[in-house]
Symmetry: C2
Subunit: 108 residues, 2 copies
């Protein structure tokens, strides 16, 4: 297993939908880079038993966590705790790049 | 619990030793910002049963994970899997700032 990675080297965008790119994956967690073109979204969803941390690398994202909505930019982070509905969209016009860690890794 | 945070606002340095600053903490994980002045280190140590992800926000760090050593800068990440000895030092001259997620949260 490669334990050192340059995050920008694994970051890929897709014209079809937001793209998740794996950085690290273990039995306990995954670390991904999520890439959103303008207008793309990760729809609101919920994980029972797993927490997710988002960190904005580039661009600005519109985050919904539970009943809250916030636009976050570079240097800002969000926590989606187990059981809380959460989602992100990129209102544009720039691309949006997020570092995401989720634990424990979902079983599916 | 505050689910949105500006990471640079919680990042603090200490002249005495590297400083860990909490960003998020749940039952399942913690997310911290580790701040190292030049010459400061997190000594090599091991966690059984928890994995740690490091992401370099600013500066350059000298990472040791298992038998490997690598200098990493901005945009680079490292994984310290459960049971692997790991540590970081800041060779300087700049400050070093790391985003760190560990899961599951150690019991101590």
């Amino acid at each position: 297993m490669e334990v050192f990675k340059r995050v920008s080297e694994v970051a890929r965008f897709s014209s079809e939908k937001m793209k998740k790119n794996g950085v690290f994956e273990t039995e306990r967690l995954f670390c991904d880079v999520y890439c959103f073109e303008a207008g793309q979204a990760q729809n609101v969803h919920t994980h029972e038993g797993s927490d997710k941390v988002y960190f904005v690398l580039e661009g600005r994202g519109r985050f919904r966590i539970g009943g809250e909505q916030r636009d976050l930019g570079k240097d800002e982070a969000a926590l989606a705790p187990s059981g809380e509905p959460h989602g992100v969209e990129n209102p544009g016009p720039e691309q949006l790049k997020l570092l995401v860690v989720m634990a424990p890794r979902p079983g599916h």
